[in-house]
Each structure stands twice: as C-alpha cells, then as structure tokens.
C-alpha cells in the first residue's frame, strides 16, 4: 500500500498546537478553583473501511474530540466532559462538574489525596515508520478489494470480508499539580474473514478471530503478499469446515493456539484481577471477582508453568503507553509468577482504597468517561517446547484456533468458549479437522491443569479493540500475547 504525499500530518499538528494553547489558557482560569484540577484533551480520528465480495461495504470515519475536566473537592474526584471546546462550553462544563462534585463529595466512597495524580511530564509516540494518516482512501480501498476478492475463492464462499480500522489518537493531560504529558497512538486493526456455505451448513473462518489482529503501528503494517497468503489459508479452511466432523464431546487434552489464548487470558485472568471489581464497584454491571484481597501472595492461580505479566512498555502491542490516564508511569510487572497470584490490576485510586500491589492501569475509553481499572497488555510468558513436541505429548486431544464464542460468569469462574476451527490429535499426531469446537471449565482448576507452553518463537501477539466494562460503559483496547498452551483433561464438545 502506497503512502500519499498529502501534508496532513503537518496540518493536524498545527491545529493541535492551536487547540493546546487555547486549552492551556482556559485551564489557567480554573486551576485554582478546587483542591485539584486537571484537563485531558482527547483527539481521535478513526477510519473504518470494509469491502465485501470485492464491493464497498462501509466507508466511515469518526473525528472525535473533547475535554475531560477532573475536579477534586474534599478528597472526592468528580468529572465534567464536553465536546463544546469554546470558552463558554468549558465554563458550563466546569461549573456543572464542580456543583455535582461538591454534592457528591458529601457521600463519597473514599477520601483521596493528591498522590493519586502524580506530577509527571513526558511524551509517548507509537512506534511507526510511516504515519497512517498518509494512507489515502484509494490505496486502502485497493488493498481491501484485492484481499476480499482473494478470500472469495469459489462460489461456496458466500461472504468474503476484508476490513481495516485505522486510529490516530492524541492525548494531552495537564494538572494543577504540574503534570503535563502527551501521548500519540497509531493503531491498526485488520480483519479478514470468509464464510463458506453448502446446503444447511455454514462456517466462518477469520484471521485470528474477529478483530483480534490489532497492533500499534504505522502504514508499514500493510503487506499485501502476506495478506493474500492469509486469505488463501482462511478461505481454504472455511471450505474444509463444510465437510468436517463436529468436535467430539469428551474430556481430553486441549491445546489452545495464541489467537484463542488471547481470549482465555483476557476473560479468566485479566478481568478477575481488576481491583475495582474486587472492591465491588462493578458488581451491578460487569460483575465481581472470585479473587479476594487476601488471595494476593497466597492463591495458586495456576500450575507452576504460568507466568503472566502486565506490560504496557512493549513496542507495537495494542495497549502500550508511557503513562496511564492519571499520570502513573507504566512499568512491567508480574501478576502471576510460577502460578502464584502476586499483583492486581489496580490504579493508584484502587491501591489507596485497598493495600494490594497494583499497576498503572487507570484508563478511559475517551474524553467523555472517567478512568477506571483496566487491562493494558496482559501476556503469558513462553515455555520450552516446539509445537510439534507439544502435539507429540498428546495421546488424545483437540487443538483449537481463533475465538468465536465467549461467556463467563460474573465472578469469572465458570466459562464456556468456542472456536472457529480445530484439529483432532490422536497418538501424538494431528489426524483430522473438526468444526464447532467448544470447551468449558472453571478458572482456577483450568489454569492448574496447564501442562506445557511452547517456545518464545511461537508467541502470537494480538488484542481486542472492544473490551467492555464500567458504569457508564466504556470500550477499551487491550493487548494479549501468548504461546500455544496445553491443558490436561478438559471438557470439549461440538455444535448441534
């Protein structure tokens, strides 16, 4: 895909500079009007384009821009958000937020101090060679059309969709405590999927499941030759599923590929370790957690092979950053080490409420929502086996690829997940393709059944642009990387 010579980057920077100057002037009017005041500007452009069966499906963009005002009164933090970026709009938002915060402070859950907003300065920019704003609609459309047509291998492929989401996000935060940081994110999500149909059967295969293929990168991400090879594999497997057997219903070994592990990590490690869930804030919506404060440092969450890190410092993974949205500097930290639970996903606010080791995890979906405890990049570290060595250890088992169904209870114990595609393993060898593979289990026994992990060169790095949580609700981007993982004696089953 060719970058254009449009001078859009420079134009955008000039506009951003003007906006920043304006907001700094406005901030100076209000910075002494409460115990603590901060302004956070979010300016985000999302282009979402898709082509189905070689023809235009959707061409949309979202030019989002707004301001979140943070106000602390008597140890209670309240928020005002506005897209009305005028002097009058900001005045209205500030006054309303201050009045609400004053009223709410009388019934606040906890009296915070200013340590929850550390005075940091810095800049972060996604690793990129070519800014994605240099990609024209025509060049993206050409890429999508070629890949969509490549997916439509024959008439049995009834739906062949290629889509891309390009996000350019600027975040600028400054506070009455002297905080001033600026972060620029360039994000690319590229999805390819083929649905094959024959008689009453219909099966879909995609590149790493839905929109799992997502990274921080610039325009250099696009590689048409590689994408065309992916299209060939995806559509071949979709056709193969039409005549495949259903996954058998039995207890056996289970190998999960990295593009299913992303979901397994997300739902059964990430969410239950969020401290705001453990503290009870999410009980009415996303749910509570089976993890209790006293479990940190004691609970054997999984087998000794299990090492899980929170790491927003990795180059290119979807949820990398230098600071969380309260200015807490991001660092790598073990959440689970040798299977033992050691730290939670708790921001400085949650750590103030509950003395559990936490991380820089206060994040919000945009300027119109307050930061809450979230995942960032949550990764499972590699083991020592090659994939062939792992398969050879399995007498009877199923190897599943790419998530298509997910459900877990509100305490994050009992889960049931389904995948797009599977292989049966008999006597250490892959023997046949299986359709409609599903498995179910209970979080802690499941992770304690982890028997082996593959080597670092097998790690797949994926993510999700759509992690939902919070009241009011927020969608956020998370990254997950993992090797292949072998679990013993798991209940698997098929469709029908």
């Amino acid at each position: 895909m060719q970058a254009t010579s449009q001078a859009t980057s420079q134009d955008a920077e000039n506009i951003s500079d003007q906006l920043t100057d304006f907001l700094q002037t406005e901030f100076n009017k209000y910075k002494d009007s409460a115990d603590f005041v901060a302004f956070k500007l979010i300016k985000e452009k999302t282009r979402d384009y898709s082509v189905r069966n070689g023809k235009t499906e959707d061409l949309t963009e979202f030019n989002d821009q707004g301001l979140l005002i943070e106000i602390m009164i008597s140890g209670h933090m309240g928020y005002g958000a506005t897209g009305e970026l005028t002097a009058e709009g900001i005045k209205k938002a500030f006054n309303k937020a201050r009045a609400m915060t004053l009223a709410a402070s009388r019934y606040g859950i906890f009296k915070f101090n200013k340590l929850i907003r550390p005075p940091v300065q810095g800049t972060y920019t996604s690793s990129r060679k070519i800014n994605s704003d240099q990609l024209s609609l025509a060049s993206i459309f050409d890429y999508l059309k070629k890949t969509s047509l490549a997916l439509k291998k024959n008439d049995q492929i009834i739906t062949a969709v290629s889509d891309v989401m390009l996000v350019e996000c600027v975040q600028h935060y400054f506070s009455s405590e002297g905080t001033n940081f600026h972060q620029n994110f360039d994000i690319i999500v590229n999805a390819l999927s083929a649905t094959a149909s024959q008689g009453k059967e219909s099966q879909t295969r995609s590149l790493h499941g839905g929109r799992g293929n997502c990274v921080q990168a610039g325009a250099e991400f696009f590689n048409l030759d590689k994408a065309l090879a992916d299209c060939d594999e995806i559509s071949t497997q979709a056709l193969e599923l039409l005549n495949a057997e259903n996954c058998p219903a039995e207890n056996c070994d289970l190998i999960l590929s990295p593009d299913q592990m992303l979901l397994q990590i997300h739902e059964s490690i990430g969410h239950p370790l969020e401290l705001d869930r453990i503290l009870g804030d999410e009980r009415n919506f996303a749910g509570w957690s089976f993890v209790k404060p006293e479990d940190f440092g004691t609970l054997q969450y999984g087998s000794t092979q299990m090492n899980v890190v929170f790491d927003p410092t990795l180059v290119g993974e979807l949820a990398s950053y230098q600071f969380d949205e309260t200015g807490n500097p991001a660092e790598k930290k073990y959440l689970i080490q040798n299977g033992k639970l050691v730290a939670g996903l708790g921001s400085l606010e949650s750590q103030a409420r509950c003395p559990i080791s936490g991380v820089a995890s206060a994040r919000s979906s945009s300027w119109n929502r307050a930061p809450i405890d979230r995942m960032a990049n949550i990764n499972l570290e590699a083991g020592k086996l090659s994939l062939n060595e792992m398969i050879s250890q399995v007498e009877r088992g199923v190897m599943m690829y790419a998530n298509r169904s997910w459900s877990i209870d509100d305490y994050r114990r009992k889960f049931q997940f389904g995948c797009e595609y599977a292989k049966l393993i008999e006597n250490g060898k892959v023997t046949k393709t299986l359709k409609n593979p599903n498995y179910r289990g209970i979080t802690v026994p499941f992770w304690n059944s982890l028997a082996a992990l593959t080597k670092p060169d097998t790690i797949g790095t994926y993510g999700s642009p759509y992690c939902g949580k919070g009241e009011p609700s927020q969608i956020i981007r998370v990254g997950h990387s993992s090797p292949y993982a072998l679990f013993k004696n798991i209940e698997v089953f098929g469709g029908g």
Partner: protein, 452 residues
C-alpha cells in the same frame, strides 16, 4: 478559538441544526447529496458502590454524522460539534471537501440510493425528576442500611435526521434511570427504577421490595448438579435471552451472508410455540420515531407471530442487494429497537405452584451464541436465583451455566408466559446513551439444559 454563540440547548439545538445544515447544503454542487444525523446528550452519571458515590461525570456531547453522496458512492463522517456555528461550519465543510476529493478515486457503491425526503416531524418528551444533587441524597439515604452498587443516569437525549432533499426529523427525550443491585456478602438482588415522574413513595416501596428479596437469599445456598430442570424466567432474565435475537439473528443481511440461527424457522422446518410472539413495537414510545437515515419506523412489525417467522429486519441497502422490500430497519444495524413479547395467561400468583420443583431465575448474564447455526446459546444465572420444591422457595442457588437452543426454549419447552409484563428502557451507555427498550412477560419452561 472563536467565541461561542451562547445557545441555550433546551430551546435552540433544533435551530442550530437548521442553520448548520443550510450552510452545508448551500455549498453542495449539482448531483451531490448530504444528510446529517444528530446525537446530542447532556448527561449526568452518578456511579454508586457500597451506597456511596464512587464517581460522578457530567457529559455535554453532540455528534453529527454526515453522509455525503455523489457519483453513486457515499461516505459517512461523524464529528463532534463545538456549538460554535462558524467553527463547526468551517470544519464540516473541510470534511465534505476531503470526502468529495477522495470518493472520485474508488468504485461505485452497489448500496447507493438517492436520498429521499421522508418528511418533517418533531417529538418532545420530558420526565420529571429531582436535581441530581437531590437524587444522590435520596439514594444514599434510602439505601444507607444496604450495600448498593449501580448507576444513576439522567438528562436529555436528542436525535435528528436532516438531508438535502428537505427531510427534517427531530426527537428529544429527557429521561432518567437507576440501574442497581444490593448485596449481602455474595447474595444480591437487582432493581431498576425509571418512570415519567420520580415519586419518593414509589421509590421507597421499590427499595423495600428489593431489600425483602435480599432477605429471602439469607438461606444457605444450594448446589444444583448439571442437568435438565423446569425453569421460570422472570422478565429481566427473559430479556437477556430475547436480546440474542438482536445479535444478528433477525437481520436479513446477516441471514443472506451465512449467519442464520433462524433458518429452520424461516424454512418452516421447525416452529416455535404458538404462544410465542415477538414484535418490533415502536408504539411503546421508547425510541425516536425514525431511524438513522430518517426513515419513519413502522408502528408495529411482527417478527415472530404465534411461533412462525413473519419478518426479518430489512434496511434499504439489504432490500436493494437481495431484491426485497425494506421495512425501514436501521442502515447501521438491522436490529429491533423497541422489543415487545406477547404476554400469556400465567397469573403471577401461580408461578411457584405451576413451576412445582425447579429453578426460579430472576436474572441471567453474559449470553452468547455457542452454535449460531443451531440457534444454541449459553449463559449464566445471576443475582437472585432460587431452587423451588413443590411450589416453595427452598433457597438461593450457586450460579449455573446453561446451554440450550432457541428452538427448545421458545418451542416445545415453553409452557406459558405471564399475564403481567414489565418494561425496561435501554441502559446501554457505551460511547453514548441509547434509546429503545423492551416490554415482556416472564416465561415458564418445562425444562432448560444446565451444563456447569
């Protein structure tokens, strides 16, 4: 930055939109078309945990979606309005100029159709509610003896659809809801309050009712083994299952593209019970009277009637692609916005005795397709769910996972639905507040399959 016009939104947003749209329409060239879709809200969100305020956020958010059309192509661009007319006009004109330039380089869109004037209408609604400061106090005081968690949300939502063919639809509704649950250790009961008028007595009665349910949960929790059990699904539990129809099952485009949970129903190879009827009922007044393209929604559209599939939701693009007739489903997502499930004959007083021995489920959680082609879904029990023996509540249960098909649940296993129906407004607040909702009864089932 320019100075704001200082408009009073309560009275002037409609006029602002007229001025802005005129500025943009006047810049169009011959054979170019433009539509503007507005979503505006001034929301107050108060998040409670342990009956105290965890976070409060006020939001002023005005999104305008432009659809520019030329040469049988179109492109949508959503932009945040500042409410400064000169600045918004300048920015949006730049957006239109950019789209105009870029569209020339790509293929025609087979879904293109000429914009129509679907008329001029206005609808205004307003609930009566105390100030949010007062509501914070009322909730904190009413539940000071409880552990309440949840969200209070209030304020006006405005939607409009305007186009260069002369269409102008405007809808405004000022609403509130409190979506909450109260806890006693791990035991929980769910409550919901949303009315046209906040009434202290009514709210106090609801608080008493929910607290009473929590006392029922004080009995020891019972572990139920996986298996098939008779079930009563209270309206909130049934609502969770009904929502799965909106996850592409009633979309005609999804059906044509191979996602077809209702294929057997469509082919009449299998029918639901004649007791089950599902309607898109826009007369419930829960959503705007037009879709995002400004097409007027049908008052009533039967989806499933007496167990038979009557209609998929079909938008104009799907109608054009597959040579069908549109029923004005939304251009963005073919889904029901205002769901109505027909009540049955079961008297609420007789629910326990009719259930006999089985599970009384008030809420379900995290439902997803487990095999979409078989219309099979899985999910969990949540909040106040009980084991019942011989018509008597024995005690709360440990949560169970179910995995069953719509053909079973609304087919042979459906015994009856309650006479009484409950209405729930849409509480979704992802990115922005949503309109719509559903009205539905409870459902008594012969059996449901529990797996974990």
């Amino acid at each position: 930055m320019a100075v704001s016009m200082g408009i009073n939104l309560k009275y002037d947003l409609k006029n602002y939109l007229k001025l802005l749209s005129n500025n943009l329409f006047n810049q169009l060239k011959a054979d170019e078309e433009l539509s503007l879709g507005l979503h505006s809200e001034e929301s107050e969100f108060v998040r409670f945990s342990k009956s105290k305020v965890r976070q409060n956020t006020s939001v002023h958010q005005h999104e305008l979606t432009l659809q520019f059309q030329a040469e049988h192509k179109f492109y949508k661009s959503t932009n945040m309005l500042t409410l400064n007319l000169a600045a918004d006009t300048k920015h949006l004109q730049t957006v239109v100029d950019s789209i105009r330039k870029n569209l020339t380089l790509i293929d025609e869109n087979p879904k293109y159709r000429k914009m129509l004037n679907n008329g001029i209408t206005e609808v205004y609604k307003k609930s009566q509610r105390p100030t949010t400061a007062d509501v914070i106090k009322k909730i904190s005081v009413q539940f000071s003896d409880s552990d309440l968690t949840g969200l209070y949300c209030a304020g006006p939502i405005r939607q409009a659809s305007v186009n260069s063919a002369g269409q102008f639809h405007y809808f405004e509704n000022d609403t509130f809801f409190l979506d909450f649950s109260i806890y006693d250790d791990a035991r929980a009961a769910k409550g919901f309050y949303s009315e046209e008028k906040w009434m202290d007595t009514q709210f106090a009665n609801l608080a008493c009712e929910i607290k009473k349910i929590l006392t029922l949960l004080k009995k020891p929790r019972i572990k139920i083994k996986p298996g098939h059990y008779p079930v009563y699904l209270a309206p909130m539990a049934l609502a969770e299952i009904i929502q799965i129809f909106n996850w592409r099952a009633v979309s005609r485009s999804a059906f044509e593209q191979g996602f077809a949970p209702l294929k057997k129903l469509h082919m009449r190879e299998s029918l639901f019970s004649p007791k089950f009827s599902l309607t898109e009922n826009n007369e419930l007044g829960l959503n705007s009277h037009f879709n995002s393209s400004g097409e007027l929604s049908p008052k009533n559209l039967p989806i499933i009637e007496n167990g038979e599939l009557k209609n998929f939701l079909i938008n104009a693009a799907t109608a054009k692609e597959y040579n069908l007739i549109s029923n004005n489903a939304d251009a963005n997502f073919e889904a029901m916005r205002s769901i109505d499930v027909k009540p049955g004959t079961l008297d609420e007083k007789n629910i326990l005795s009719q259930l006999g021995t089985g599970l009384f489920l008030t809420n379900l959680h995290y439902i997803n397709w487990s095999d979409p082609q078989a219309a099979r879904l899985t999910g969990m029990t949540r909040f106040a769910c009980f084991w019942v023996e011989n018509g008597e509540i024995i005690g709360p249960i440990h949560d169970l996972r179910f995995d069953d098909t719509l053909y079973n649940l609304f087919g042979a296993e459906l015994v009856d639905l309650t006479e009484h129906v409950s209405t729930f407004v849409n509480t979704s607040t992802y990115q922005k507040r949503s309109l719509g909702g559903m009205r539905l009864p409870g459902a008594l089932l012969k059996k449901m399959n529990f797996t974990l």
